[in-house]
Symmetry: C2
């Protein structure tokens, strides 16, 4: 089956590594001629709304997916008329707007932090008055890896926050003093079957995911069940096909939905070694109309991102049980260049390996 993938970054690359053994072949579309997925399939280079490429891409493939959520929605709807496109364009559309996303969560009964749309300086002043401090001002669109966010801790921050982000549609959110950040990776196939990976505990620094632990240490079945109930509502509402990630704040035993990503997700990279079927394989199985594989964790895993520049990769490979994944991208400030996963039968063994790996991964 000829799969078209919008975006040719590391996620596309790992989708291809999982998809080739399922007899899938890949055509990637990226605006970067050095997109790292290009080594694992054909690569079309150009803007995601270039009508000529849109037609060429549609002609070259049989089923379409995407690996980043800032694909122009018009392009997605155009392509969806020609081929099955999964996850559905509607999921893409919702996830591109933090306001729509939060409204969807609330409509489906999924708790979120309090939020208010902000269109003007005046909205912000009034919003802060009603919501209180601290609060987080976020752009509604095109935010990722901590970009487009400003934490307001005191009244005087309001002017600086407006200066930094004002002029585009914004969202003001109550700051949640959460216990930890958790994410759920859920997958739905074309027949509507669901599967869920265990909740993952994520550590962010400067808005970028640095480390994931899976299953989240001390994870209670009740919390897992709650996450799955939340995820099912989103999956079924959107008639979703593929992997969906939802990031939560764990706060007073509840899960407050922060955001969702309609794609495979960095907090699911541990599944390559640590789950019976990886998120990448299950996404491709769903997209290709194949049955899902089991999602159970095979032990305890830790995943570290390698950011900015590659560390001494030989030193990493010498750590017993360390699995290295380099994406083949050029180094650059805050760029995700690779990741390392360790997987052991016990959390204690994982923690021992983490002591060696964390400094190597710059943590």
């Amino acid at each position: 089956m000829k799969v078209g993938c919008l975006g040719g970054g590391q996620l596309g690359r790992m989708l291809a590594l999982a998809g080739h053994p399922l007899r899938l072949r890949f055509t990637f579309w990226d605006n970067n001629a050095e997109a790292p997925a290009g080594h694992l399939g054909k690569l079309m280079v150009g803007h995601y709304n270039d009508p000529a490429i849109l037609q060429r891409f549609a002609k070259a493939v049989e089923v379409i997916t995407f690996e980043f959520e800032n694909v122009p929605v018009d392009s997605a709807y155009y392509l969806a008329q020609r081929h099955p496109l999964y996850p559905p364009a509607r999921a893409l559309e919702v996830s591109q707007d933090r306001l729509q996303e939060k409204i969807l969560f609330r409509r489906l009964g999924i708790p979120t932090p309090d939020f208010l749309p902000i269109e003007s300086r005046n909205d912000l002043t009034q919003g802060l008055r009603s919501m209180g401090l601290p609060a987080v001002l976020k752009t509604r669109r095109f935010g990722y890896d901590g970009k487009g966010q400003f934490v307001l801790r005191k009244r005087g921050d309001s002017a600086r926050a407006w200066e930094a982000l004002g002029g585009v549609p914004l969202l003001l959110e109550a700051f949640v003093p959460f216990r930890r950040e958790l994410s759920v990776l859920a997958v739905r196939d074309r027949k509507g079957h669901h599967a869920f990976y265990p909740l993952v505990e994520n550590l962010h620094r400067e808005g970028i995911l640095r480390r994931s632990l899976a299953p989240a240490p001390g994870l209670k079945p009740k919390l897992q069940a709650l996450a799955e109930r939340h995820a099912v509502r989103v999956l079924d509402e959107l008639n979703y096909v593929g992997v969906l990630a939802i990031e939560f704040f764990e706060f007073r035993g509840k899960l407050l939905a922060n955001e969702m990503a309609p794609r495979v997700h960095n907090s699911g990279h541990w599944t390559i070694e640590g789950a019976e079927t990886s998120q990448f394989e299950n996404h491709m199985r769903a997209v290709a109309g194949l049955p899902l594989g089991p999602t159970a964790a095979t032990g305890h895993s830790a995943m570290f991102n390698l950011i900015g520049e590659l560390p001494d990769t030989e030193a990493i490979l010498r750590v017993p049980g360390a699995h290295l994944h380099i994406y083949g991208k050029r180094p650059g400030l805050k760029r995700k260049l690779g990741h390392v996963t360790v997987n052991f039968p016990t959390l204690a063994s994982v923690q021992r390996a983490m002591k060696t790996l964390q400094p190597l991964a710059g943590l």
Copy 2:
């Protein structure tokens, strides 16, 4: 690092799937323009002794390996003068000739079935007289998957055996009523460190591997230690780098070496899911000068080859825990088109899954 690989079949394909995350990029050389590894790297098409391709290939790569042992030795020696070539050309040369291979085993103190070189019809008559029946007549070169072999059970078979195989250098071997066939996958890095996977039990039909069980059921540490001692001698003698497979007959508590393959091996495919580091990753680590990863089995695995034509692959994917690997080759008599692996904590669970999988895999 730019890796050149002689041969672009399924083994090359799986080497590339393991090598890309280690920042390796691949150029394959195959005489078939549809070689399935071509989806995962560049593909140069032509005969393995074409001097123009030899030069182009040498220019395009930094380190060289191969995925089948019938690479012309002259080409290998030529390339080895230009770049590191692993496993060494000498290993290739020895493994291309069953007689040299057996002589090497004997010289290193590794038991083998009795054997005699056969150059003429008269040699065969005399050989059968001294060796007795049953016996196996084999071509010294270019035998694989049961091709180039003739089992003689009675005197009268001699004429037919000669008719089938005579005219090329042959080897007559005593037929060993072995308990089972076992193989060891061993790997040696550039610094001379060794690692070994647990012995695998292999089931052949019509000379083709159909099923592997790993670790071999009932495997005793003593037998594993014996296999490793045998393998170390070959690895060190040849100053070997990469994965080496040796096939043994288990007979009266001893291991009689049958043949070796200087490459990743079909009986090691289970390591993708069933070992901490796969044979493919460890081969690429060794070839690229990286440290080896741990080789322990993570449970019990069974691997089935899919031969001739692909079965109902969706039915296979519905078997919980079944991992499907399709190579992207055209169907054809006795062609290996893919494999399935199951991996569980206990042999009993593996055996349960096998009952469902065996008929699907045509066993």
